[in-house]
Symmetry: C2
Amino acid sequence: MKYCSNCSATVVLMIPEGDSLPRYVCSTCNIIHYQNPKMVVGCIPEWEDKILLCKRAIEPRKGWWTLPAGFMENNETLAQAAARETLEEANARVEIGDLYAVYSLPHISQVYFIFRAKLLDLDFKPGIESLEVKLVSEQEMPWEEMAFRVIHDPLKHYFKERNQGKFDLHVDVINKAQNAP
Amino acid sequence: MKYCSNCSATVVLMIPEGDSLPRYVCSTCNIIHYQNPKMVVGCIPEWEDKILLCKRAIEPRKGWWTLPAGFMENNETLAQAAARETLEEANARVEIGDLYAVYSLPHISQVYFIFRAKLLDLDFKPGIESLEVKLVSEQEMPWEEMAFRVIHDPLKHYFKERNQGKFDLHVDVINKAQNAP
Ligand SMILES: [Zn+2]
Ligand SMILES: [Zn+2]
């Protein structure tokens, strides 16, 4: 950030009075431009014993597998964001179920939210950000080709707990050193 | 948003190619300035059969009661944010426990996260954003003076479930029409 989005003057990085962290503050209109972490929301679309995966058509990790997930928009709920992303990336309709995983990624200032979901029909096809969309069983999971650890890890929990017959919420942290897939 | 924070040219509100929502796009450097919902993170600090409440020293709802909670910062985890806000608003040290409530407020593009937490000592006092900080039992709860429905409702669940001996995660939505305290 170099310029004030309110008045176009230059901003300076400084700790405002009464604050404890440096912020971008406008040199002219004095507005403080706070920067906040972003939410990434997705789901595990379930159909019988399979789940729906997407092969990424975009960088980073183009050609690797992931769940339908993306940045939450203003004026929607977490569940609406998860359903919208699934429609956009896999042209798939889902009924969003329980929240299953909440992972903080502090090094990139993101928090991931993964819901369980019921896939409502088989009329799915790749959206513009996907090369391929397919249903896979546990035996068919491409564990070595998963794009992101923040997707890989909840899915490991998911299949283990599905076999045990009980799902628990996972609240966890992935730090930089661990984030390589 | 009127000006580009990257180059100071004017921005225009338009739907970028391949997108479906209007965004602020720079008329000169073409950067798209996305706007995303914000996370508010707090906790229920527990001490024996009491919890710690804060009386707000700032608007909105100055003089009304709430839990320690505030906007999540970049480069922290959800649990770190909850502990930091509790230290800032109540000068209180807590050990953050289970995630207890996740409420989407789509009309103001916020998502609230409330953890259960263990208060570690009784050496608390009001921070700069609080007029008063005190431990209250269920019988002493100022239900009619709670600042926000998004705090009031999880606390109603909390005391009910505490009496029943089992806590469950609450994922819910508060819409505009319901948001008045
Ligand atoms: Zn300015
Ligand atoms: Zn620009």
